[in-house]
Amino acid sequence: MTLWMPKTAAGKRWLGLAPSYIVIGIFMLIPMVIMGVFSFLEPNPYGGVMPEGSVAAYVKLFFEYDLEDNLVFNPGYINIIYRSFQLSIGATLLCLAFGFPVAYYITLQPEHKRNFYIFLITIPFWTNLLIRTFAWIIILGRGGVIEMPLLAAGIIEDSLRMMYTDGAIAIGLTYSYLPLMVLPIYASLEKLDFRLLEAATDLYANRLEVMTRVVIPLCKPGIIAGCILVFIPCLGAFIAPNLLGGGKKLMLGSLVQFQFASARNWPFGAALSMLLLAVVVVVLIFYARAAKKQAAIAGEG
């Protein structure tokens, strides 16, 4: 008995790649299709879905029924989405503001030190995000690490009420995803030819101009990649909003989690996820375009 083998080269290539197609299919494609299908079904009050088609979940994103059963515009969820974007953009900008100098500093170190610093950057990933976010409750909370010395010194008399605010969520998100900003920026800075910096100073550029005219344009791909790597998980985050925002200040991610875990409205959760997915795809298309443009300049040896 002989094993079946494809005859053509293309067929053989396909067979070789088959494991990866299977993995992507099982772990990515099928769950996504299930989510897509669920978003068009009726919710089962006990969890799960009922096999009846409906667009109610999508309608619910924008409208609600008033007492007379009329559809009226409901900005509630739009507001949550809007807030999610605001917070995610804020956290992304904070990550960029902190992450770029860190990446730049590491690049300037001697080579053997660089690897050690990169290793330090990745250490937080060893511990569960939930636990690390809890630590921020201790830092920001009433009588916490920040407030206690200020209270004791008499600089403030009452709690600063830092917890359960948008600021607390932004801090939590920034903390969670900062390494995802540092690593890609470092990767592109490391490839930077530092002789170009000398050339720029030789041509009368001051420090700021060296940064804005040479360094930042040349590591733009790293900056864009870092921003996307931070922005997308921020949109879907629910640990920081739930713990540091107290669950009152919902974000898109916590809303999705709430629909599946508590509200038992799976189709609505699935519809929200589809919306999130659409946003991510749009952002990634933007990135692909930018990367292509950059490659056109840097490529063709």
Binding site: A199, T201, D202, Y204, I297
Partner: protein
């Protein structure tokens, strides 16, 4: 004549506080005149690039002063020094077009837009690159990138242009063509050029004056013929061109000639450069092109000695002959192939070696 750059007692020590400090420059002093093509020549590690980087401001002096047209500049940031550099590997900005690269310095100097544009066009025309202003550097050949780097450094009209081995990455033909162009460019612009190279041929071909450096010190400063014909020491004589060295002892001094014993008992007369006494151990040097090889029958003519061919290296337009002069003395000489392409002498063939005492010079050991 105005002095463009005055280097006074400049010392540069790398890692001064570590346990392995490296002395790259040891109290170097030299002056470069305005409108001069000045070359810093030496083997790698001699400190020539360090000196250039100190003038540009990329490194800080450990001691001494650098004056640029009577202004002390050694403590200024590079972006405040009116000098520009052509880098060894060009260092063109890959994200900018050729024209944007050339405009970079002018824009930093806040020149008006119209002036920037006319200057960019003028310098790009000067280096014959005007038609490629819209390209990116990676779409250019090495020679074209070289021209853009030149244009970029010339555009802000620096008081001094620093060139760090700019031709070393080009292939031979292009390098030779660029030599002439660089020299021409220097004349046209009237800008002082400070050119760093390890290629002695390049230095001789282009420079008004050359400073030969080794081990962080200036060995000799002079015009190309000075350096080639009258090197002050063995290092300079050896580094510039091919040379025969004969080690010996002075046995007699007449007015303008010294007689030296070379080997066990061969006597050679050389030009008296002054300041020698009988018994001095000296090195004589003799350039191969000053030696005439002829048939053995001429060996008794004045200024001729008998010899025997020990080795031949064929170089196309000429051949380098190693001639055994007896008594352990060997001389390298040149001869042209005959019209039919055959070499004039064969290995082991006896011949006459002719050179005048004027061609032999004395170096103090």
């Amino acid at each position: 004549m105005t002095t463009a750059i005055d280097i006074r007692d400049v010392t540069k020590i790398y890692n001064p506080n570590s346990n392995q400090p490296v002395k790259a420059l040891d109290s170097v002093s030299l002056t470069i005149d305005d409108n001069e093509f000045f070359t810093l020549l030496g083997p790698s590690g001699c400190g020539k690039t360090t000196l250039l980087r100190l003038i540009a401001g990329f490194e800080q002096v450990s001691g001494g002063e650098i004056m640029l047209f009577d202004d002390e500049i050694e403590n200024l940031e590079p972006n405040r020094r009116p000098v520009n550099t052509v880098f060894q590997h060009y260092a063109l900005f890959p994200h900018m077009t050729v024209a944007e690269n050339v405009a970079f310095g002018l824009e930093r100097l806040k020149k008006p837009k119209a002036e920037v544009q006319t200057t960019v066009e003028r310098v790009l025309t000067l280096v014959k690159m005007k038609h490629l202003g819209d390209r990116h550097p990676n779409q250019l050949s090495g020679g074209q990138q070289q021209r853009v780097a030149l244009a970029r450094a010339l555009a802000p009209s620096p008081k001094v242009l620093l060139l760090d081995e700019p031709l070393s990455a080009l292939d031979l033909k292009l390098r030779q063509a660029m030599r002439e162009e660089l020299k021409q460019l220097q004349k046209e612009t009237g800008i002082t050029f400070v050119f760093v190279t390890h290629d002695q041929e390049e230095a001789l071909a282009m420079s008004d004056r050359i400073a030969v450096m080794s081990d962080g010190e200036v060995q000799q400063i002079g015009g190309p013929t000075d350096i080639y014909e009258h090197p002050v020491n063995r290092f300079v004589a050896d580094f510039i061109g091919d040379t025969n060295f004969l080690d010996g002892e002075i046995v007699d001094i007449k007015d303008d000639l010294v007689t030296c014993r070379i080997g066990s008992n061969s006597m050679y007369e050389a030009e008296n450069s002054g300041g020698h006494t009988v018994g001095d151990h000296v090195t004589l040097f003799l350039r191969p092109e000053k030696i005439t090889l002829s048939d053995a029958s001429d060996a008794n003519q004045p200024d001729n000695r008998p010899g025997k061919v020990a080795n031949i290296v064929y170089l196309g337009n000429q051949a380098a002959y190693t001639v055994d002069m007896g008594d352990g003395v060997e001389l390298v000489a040149q001869a042209r192939p005959r019209e039919d392409g055959k070499l004039p002498f064969a290995i082991d063939e006896p011949l006459a070696v002719g050179f005048s005492a004027r061609a032999l010079r004395v170096l103090v050991q």
